[in-house]
């Protein structure tokens, strides 16, 4: 089933919704500033907060998407939904070709956070896609009908450190 994403993006008065979920448009300046603020103030607690916030909102978002689209009921179509929604939300490109219910690897050749971080702050010394890690963990938990926190996602390579692409490893937590 092909989702017509532009149809799902709607405005009701001053509020924006994507498939019924309240969203906001923010640019890389704000997203990267928030990440830097949390990371520099709280260290690993700050990056965990970014990860968990992304995981929880992705989990809630995917639950809502699938409730709105009951015909998307196979794992393949749900993974495709995840990939296209990531792209439609301006978050980048993500490939779910090496993933199973027990985990696997996910590759992202382009992302909002990488583009934004490099444009704003330049090269990092350590992987920095905390949002994407959490987003993947939340989406996969919904797709494989698991509870939130079921998966742990780590970033093995990151374009913020000038790697060729971002590579995420998914394991059962």
């Amino acid at each position: 089933m092909i989702i017509n994403w532009p149809e799902k993006f709607a405005r009701k008065g001053h509020e924006l919704f994507l498939s019924g979920l309240p969203i906001a448009l923010h640019c890389h300046h704000y997203n990267m500033n928030l990440q830097k603020t949390l990371e520099s103030s709280l260290g690993s607690d700050g990056t965990l907060l970014l990860y968990q916030a992304a995981e929880e909102s992705s989990y809630a978002g995917f639950t809502s998407f699938l409730q709105h689209h009951p015909k998307i009921n196979t794992t393949k179509s749900k993974l495709e939904l995840a990939s296209t929604s990531y792209q439609y939300c301006g978050l980048g490109i993500i490939n779910f070709t090496q993933i199973e219910p027990e985990g696997g690897r996910i590759v992202s050749p382009h992302s909002h956070h990488v583009t934004g971080w490099l444009a704003k702050f330049g090269k990092r010394e350590t992987p920095g896609c905390f949002f994407s890690r959490g987003w993947i963990a939340g989406a996969l938990a919904v797709i494989y009908d698991k509870h939130i926190g079921y998966y742990r996602v780590d970033e093995l390579q990151c374009k913020m450190t000038l790697a060729r692409e971002c590579v995420f490893e998914v394991v059962i937590a």
């Binding site: 008065g13 001053h14 906001a24 300046h29 103030s41 301006g90 980048g92 382009h110 909002h112 583009t115």
Partner: protein, 198 residues
Amino acid sequence: MAIDTDKIVHAVMHGSRIREEKGIIPLFGVYLSMIPVEYYNKISFGFERKMGQDGSAEKLLVAAGQECGYATFQGIRSSREWDEVVQPMIEHTEDQIYCFVSIAIAFGWGDLAVEELIPHEKLVVRASDSYEARGYWDAYGKADAGKCYMLRGVAAAFMDLVYGAEYPDGCFQYTAIETFCQAKGDPHCEFVARKAAL
């Protein structure tokens, strides 16, 4: 020419449906993302709780919003889309602020309105439905202080951009307070930006 908020909102809605091949939304000179407001609220209020009640989180979050607003709206007013859609509406310097507010509405930041603008001195912006205030109220109940950190910083950034030193030297020349907030039970949220004390 009056500021046509509907035209600006339409331009943002139209432009934000366009993706380039990398899955990025380049619009108005910045890279946009569509992320659930729940994410931003979890980050802001989670950060505040982890940092403690000494006000340091509030200062950092407002500063993040102000620096973001400053860079974002500078990018916006330097963009092709601004030249095509917004610039023809601008007759006076102050009109820029009304256009900034229209764009913030288009971004889904709240139903904002300029209540008062005294050039160089004071800006009062009101919101009767901010996602930050609503998010705080829904998650934690009544607040004892204003919770719209992003909007507060952005209100000051609007003044920085229009009346501060030339970009990029004007950020934080103005500062804003939140005089009313729906998270406190007030009927609306209100932000008052004035020149920062040196």
